[in-house]
Symmetry: none
Subunit: 201 residues, 4 copies
């Protein structure tokens, strides 16, 4: 569909799931990294051309890997989700159930402050960058930590998962939009987490 010229050796077709050539995979990674940076700095309305420049590739290369800007955003989010879920698993495996939940909450907020708009985009399922399962995985990861913390008595019994997700969303968004200082972010986060702890603390 792309070129019709006879590329006998490779077949001339565009098999979707062929393992990428080494340089192509390298480019893909660089583009994703650049996009994360650029969108974090300039917001999701930054131009694709700037992403290409930052990645050190030509604009065409970006569109070969991600046929649409939306695809690029979706890929960023998928990659990010993987990272975040991985962190959750690590905390679940290694750490104290009573603190893992709070640590993870804090980690998300800190991350969002670093990687910018992207965590925000993650929640913007409303504008439907990708149907559903984006935040679902994150919710799942969070759910396990929450359950464990609740069993350990570190979290109030009546706290529900959707409230937790809402509080994460709020805090990350707020941190981004508000331009909080490190100190303010810490104090604000502490207040919110306190709201989830049992009465006597």
């Amino acid at each position: 569909m792309l070129s019709t010229a006879g590329r006998a050796s490779t077949g001339g077709t565009v098999t979707p799931e062929r393992p990428l050539r080494a340089d192509a995979r390298r480019n893909r990674a660089r583009i994703l990294a650049a996009a994360e940076e650029v969108f974090a700095e300039r917001g999701a309305s930054a131009s694709t051309e700037e992403v290409a420049a930052r990645a050190g590739v030509a604009i065409g290369t970006v569109f070969r890997h991600f046929p649409t800007k939306r695809d690029l955003l979706a890929a960023i989010m998928k990659e990010l989700r993987g990272r975040l879920v991985g962190k959750a698993d690590a905390l679940a495996a290694e750490g104290d159930p009573a603190t893992a939940f709070f640590d993870y909450f804090g980690y998300l907020v800190e991350s969002s402050a670093r990687i910018g708009t992207v965590v925000g985009l993650l929640a913007e399922e409303g504008t439907a960058i990708e149907p559903g399962a984006q935040i679902t995985a994150l919710t799942g990861a969070f759910g396990s930590l929450l359950d464990a913390a609740r069993r350990a008595g570190a979290v109030r019994g009546d706290v529900r998962l959707d409230e937790v997700m809402a509080l994460v969303t709020a805090t990350t968004h707020g941190a981004l939009a508000g331009g909080w200082s490190d100190d303010l972010r810490r104090r604000t986060l502490a207040r919110i987490l306190d709201a989830l702890r049992p009465a006597g603390r």
Copy 2:
């Protein structure tokens, strides 16, 4: 060489703030209302053309009233700020100091859910829509309510104003971005406000 009388660089008038003609004021209001709606629905990147269409005026009319898109956004925020501060004053005047603070917090979150991106824009001083005093007024209004509530023992003594503002920002942003249901918003808000109440509740 001829007459040097009546040289005004812009409009030939002397009084800078002439009261607008009736139809002009009507249009200005319609444009503001339309803009609030459109930006709430589509985000701040919605087109001015659409604002004009929604307001039922031609594109030129929008630009006569607001020479720049930025000016339009600034005007929306100013109007909104007025409304919000007004509500704070009303609550301070009329109500129970112990509850006014919490009522106002809730009012802001509810409002943001209704009027959309705009409260968000209010906090986006980072992109510098208008120097500083945008959120300052709101902060002032909030400060009075907070003090009163603290004196009434309804708010913990160690709660600081910047934390309150941060929590408002977070909650409104979260509510907008997260697309929370009414029920979820209520519960999430309750959790956050609980974090501000004295230990014994």
Copy 3:
């Protein structure tokens, strides 16, 4: 045709050649003067709005007097032409035939340097501001002076009127476009006029 309200006293019609009311005539003059200035400063692409502002009237008033920007330009030129022809007549009547021609040439160039683009517009009959007779009158005025000077032996016998007009056009345009200093303009003008004088000088 304008308002249908009962203005019994004036009749409600727009008779084209009714003597203007005093204030209307005053406005017309101020607009013309302002337009001359503005177009001289900013070129013919200056906005009508600026002309109105400079004249101290509203934009509608300009268009009531001159239904089209082109009409306004034409009126300026007509007025200017009158002034210029008047000066020619004065020189013809009063002065030394041998010098009147050269004085007039110089006067036109000086004027153009003062009143700017407008004399230029006068020649832009190519872009057809008004069919023909604009420059014709000027040519006529110039013709008389030229004939007199020729008879007085102050101008070479083979100089033809169209050449003179061409030289005026060139010099005025050049003076405008080139931004010549007073000194340069004087010397350049002297060169050109020398070309019209008899060999022995």
Copy 4:
């Protein structure tokens, strides 16, 4: 966080002046040619859209090559200046010093009659299309020819370079604005050049 390599703010390239691709160079040339035509016919206020149409490209292509209309005008002038200076060099190298000066003067006027407004724009340094050196080069080229002619006794000794430039400017502008016939242009030019020749002729 990822790679910091290849960060170029605009294009990701290192060599600033990469030779244009064949089709790009072709388009650039076509755009310049079209622009010269269009501006000659319609004046410098002609629309960029029309230039694009005349060149047979889309509007975006024009703006890729010339990010601003001003840039396009500047490029035209630069190209033209090159052509004109080249002609001066050719005349200086090949021809009779006594006539080269006059030939060049005539060539400039003829050219301006062909290529229209552009020579005019060249002089519009007032509107500052490009700092200074536009007309400087032309002046330099003219200066050499003038000196040579003066040494050959073909030009009066007291003629100064700025007067020559002023006369060129005037003649080209006049020719453009006045819409002179070929015959009139020739006669007018002859008058002006005569003014530069020694008395006895």
